[in-house]
């Protein structure tokens, strides 16, 4: 980056950005953490989880879809904003069935890590306890829909990278849910492969590879040693780790 990079202010400190970057991309690239769930360093912004909400000149904006502009004054790490993020996280926890003690993703889970970092000790609201299915039909992959936070990363990956379109969304509002690309509705009847990008991209414990559960001991998982807020650089924007399917 040249010395003449334009900058914006994030909580009073300058953050350089490249043309075309969004506020969150520039922030993470500079090692400045902004909470996020549906953002992924290798994908275009999505804007649905709203965890990355920030305040710009008194206006509430979604930092993953907000193009960075020179001189912008962005507030992120304030009590008011973090309180709203905590509420959003609590809403996600009561919407699904997020039972951490038996989940293979625990310790590597973005939702859990964000909740820890925001100091969420209880979900506050009445739990919905929805009746959601588990699809273990595929020999190598399990889908546990109880944990889905509707970030749509699997949909985007399967469509844009794997060129398959295995996942999609159906329903509306609180009944919105993930479906798979087969008439039977079972994963085994789709053309998903365990090497698909879609299988790697789930930030929580919905899409899991079989035969490798609990591979890392407690203490050695991604978020054991350090909170997610100290791992901003790991989520800085980077190129896709594989060639996307052509003509997807």
């Amino acid at each position: 980056m040249s010395e003449a990079s334009p900058t914006f202010l994030l909580d009073g400190e300058e953050v350089p950005f490249a043309p075309g970057q969004t506020v969150i991309q520039a922030a993470l690239a500079a090692g400045r953490y902004v909470p996020h769930l549906c953002y992924h360093p290798e994908f275009k912004p999505h804007g649905s989880c709203k965890l990355c909400t920030v305040k710009v000149d008194g206006h509430w904006m979604t930092s993953c879809t907000l193009p960075a502009q020179a001189g912008m004054k962005v507030e992120s790490n304030t009590e008011e904003i973090n309180a709203k993020r905590r509420l959003l996280t609590q809403m996600l926890f009561v919407e699904g069935n997020h039972f951490c003690p038996s989940c293979e993703k625990s310790g590597n889970c973005m939702l859990q890590a964000v909740a820890y970092d925001l100091g969420m000790v209880s979900a506050q609201f009445d739990h919905f306890f929805p009746d959601r299915p588990i699809d273990a039909s595929h020999p190598d992959i399990v889908l546990d829909f109880n944990r889905c936070i509707l970030c749509e990363l699997c949909i985007r990956a399967s469509s844009e990278v794997d060129g398959k379109g295995v996942f999609a969304l159906s329903g509306r509002g609180i009944t919105k849910h993930l479906i798979v690309n087969s008439e039977s509705g079972r994963l085994a009847d789709t053309d998903i492969a365990v090497t698909d990008k879609a299988v790697d991209v789930c930030p929580v414990g919905v899409i899991l590879k079989k035969h490798v559960g609990f591979a890392q001991p407690i203490g050695k998982r991604r978020f054991d040693a350090q909170p997610i807020s100290m791992q901003a650089l790991r989520d800085a924007p980077r190129p896709l780790d594989r060639k996307p399917h052509s003509g997807a």
Binding site: C49, T53, L87, L92, L150, I174
Partner: protein, 619 residues
């Protein structure tokens, strides 16, 4: 089975297997059986070349598309608060018992299902229902019995008595739009004739020559100037300057542009566009064509809400007549350089598609999810081309302005809100219907004119608008005071304003598109909390939670639905606080669920009814 496949094939062919027509294809595919079979989804996906999950997901978004059997006759009672006030629920019960079916379930023989749906825009002739999307209003016990008999006898809907489907217009106060005598083509011709200069004069006009502007025809820019001069603002609720919108679209560099008329009129209590489309269709299409001419578009869409299905055929007839008389198609009004076509797309039961970017998504054959903005539709809209999206009434006004000029229009109304506003008045009043006033009319005047007495509150512009009490009836309908898309619901002193807000909370939860966390979960939580208060289990804790959720939705929501979902509750808590406090049983906390009721299943399985098998109140 092969009959169905063949029929579906012909539907697909007629829609050119275009993905953008997916919602229309699904609607038509559903017709014979009332639901879309998995095999049909597969067949459609193959034809439009999309993964089948994507097609299934589109069908799963819209309330009127069914992926499970839903009955040959699908009855949906409009369930806005004004429908309740008019007695829709007892009539629903009556129909259920006449047809031996439980509400929300499909009858065992697959004949019928009965349930409620969001406001269908028949508030002036409530209660109303839809049967397979066809509207029947002014329901009475007699009409319900008649409908039950027709269904029992399995009479095809096309053979039902025509008078059952008659919809009244109830035009009660006319002003410039409703009293308009403009003839088809008048406004287009005047627009085209504005500022026409000869080629030689143009050569002397160096600026236009240098910038390559269309020097032979200033009608386009002049028309936009008239719209700007008129200070016309959008009539769909957002109130954006129409002139600036048209200008921005025209100035956006593109090979194609589009004009879209938003006839999704889903805001509960709004039915003015219903009447405009039924009686003033020429004026609407005239405005769309003038817009197409002015911005440089050759294609227009009318996005018609599915609940107004009965208007589709008459509207197609009007379009056919306009084509036959040279007002549509190649060479509009004999201008060889201007071709304009209008296509009608039907919605399928989704209020959120009234939001302009969600509407465009639906027009493109997708789930109606609002887009990230910027960019806005004027620069990147339908298929990413610059698109003007305007309300039905806005196009009517635009046609009149194109004909009469902007100054004429600007003289009507107030300095900041020019022109007239059509109000759709309903609720506790003697004369519900359409009232067109110049902007600046007071609420008090409207209440007087519609015969409202002992009015406690008025909900202006529907649940996403504002609820005002008697102390505010001196306020004016205008963008600078009480902005409105048109809905004007009247509540007299006998009404419980808490129940009004609760009805609206249910509405928003049902209609949330589900994209963003705050609205998807927040509207469901708000609905549950309002239900908790209604069930007599409310506490201050719940009021506090409602307050927190309201602030979150206002700040973090992705679109206007989430932003305004809390308004009804905020407004009524502020103005009708005792209606809420009467429902608080505890100053601290009360569980939402019935504890004794939660033991019912276990009591049934063990056959116990002793004292230990029950849980009482806290002593």
């Amino acid at each position: 089975m092969s009959d169905i496949t063949a029929r579906l094939d012909s539907i697909l062919k007629r829609h050119a297997t275009a993905r953008t027509n997916l919602v229309q294809i699904l609607r038509e595919a559903q017709e014979p059986e009332g639901w879309i079979r998995p095999e049909a989804i597969t067949q459609i996906a193959k034809a439009v070349k999309l993964p089948r999950a994507r097609v299934e997901g589109v069908a799963g978004f819209y309330s009127f598309l069914h992926l499970q059997p839903a009955g040959r006759y699908r009855i949906r009672f409009s369930d806005n608060i004004t429908d309740r006030m008019a007695g829709n629920l007892p009539l629903l019960e009556r129909l259920c018992s006449q047809l031996w079916v439980e509400r929300g379930k499909v009858s065992e023989d697959g004949l019928v299902s009965i349930d409620t749906t969001s406001c269908t825009g028949m508030n002036d002739q409530a209660p109303a229902l839809l049967v397979n999307g066809w509207a029947i209003a002014r329901l009475t016990q007699g009409r319900i019995d008649q409908i039950a008999a027709l269904i029992r006898d399995q009479v095809p809907i096309e053979n039902w008595p025509v008078e059952l489907f008659a919809i009244e217009d109830n035009i009660l106060r006319k002003d410039v739009i409703l009293a308009s005598t403009l003839q088809p083509g008048d406004a287009i011709r005047v627009a085209m004739s504005r500022g026409r200069i000869e080629a030689t004069e143009a050569a002397f006009n160096q600026r236009s020559w240098r910038e390559g502007l269309d020097v032979a025809d200033h009608g386009q820019t002049e028309t936009i100037e008239e719209i700007k001069r008129s200070r016309l603002r959008g009539r769909g609720g957002a109130g954006f300057s129409t002139g600036l919108k048209w200008e921005a679209c025209r100035n956006a560099r593109a090979t194609q542009r589009y004009v879209v008329c938003n006839a999704d009129e889903g805001e509960p209590g709004t039915f003015k566009d219903r009447v405009l489309l039924a009686r003033y269709a020429d004026l609407v299409f005239e405005g769309m064509t003038v817009c197409g001419y002015a911005v440089g578009a050759s294609k227009g869409f009318l996005y018609l809400r599915g609940e107004y299905r009965h208007l589709l055929a008459p509207l197609q007839d009007v379009l056919a007549r306009r084509r036959a008389t040279g007002l549509l198609g190649a060479g509009v009004c004999e201008r060889p350089d201007f071709a304009f076509e209008i296509e009608i797309h039907l919605g399928a039961g989704a209020y959120v598609c009234g939001e302009e970017s969600a509407l465009i998504e639906s027009l493109e054959g997708k789930r109606g999810i609002p887009r990230n903005r910027p960019p806005y539709p004027v620069t990147s809209g339908y298929l990413k081309f610059p698109t003007v999206v305007n309300n039905v009434e806005t196009f009517c006004a635009a046609a009149l302005i194109a004909f009469n000029g902007g100054d004429w229009y600007a003289r009507i109304g107030t300095p900041r809100s020019s022109g007239t506003k059509i109000l759709s008045v309903s609720g506790d009043c003697a004369r519900p219907g359409l009232y067109e006033y110049p902007f600046g009319v007071t609420v008090k005047q409207v209440l007087q004119d519609c015969g409202a007495e002992f009015t406690q509150a008025v909900q202006v512009s529907g649940p996403s608008g504002i609820c005002i009490d008697a102390s505010e009836f001196g306020r004016r309908i205008a963008f600078e005071d009480l902005p409105t898309a048109g809905a004007f619901m009247v509540f007299d002193e006998s009404r419980d304003m808490f129940e009004v807000a609760r009805n609206f909370a249910h509405f928003f939860a049902h209609e949330s598109c589900g994209f963003c966390t705050p609205c998807r979960v927040g509207t469901a939580l708000l609905r549950n909390l309002m239900d908790k208060l209604a069930a007599g289990k409310g506490s201050q804790h719940d009021l506090n939670q409602i307050g927190e959720l309201n602030h979150l939705l206002q700040s973090a929501s992705h679109c206007g639905l989430g932003h305004t979902a809390c308004n009804p509750i905020l407004d009524t808590v502020r103005r009708f606080r005792p209606a809420y406090e009467q429902r608080l049983v505890s100053l601290v906390y009360e569980p939402a669920f019935d504890l004794d009721g939660a033991l019912a299943r276990a009591r049934a399985m063990t056959g116990r009814d002793d004292a230990g098998a029950h849980l009482g109140e806290v002593t």
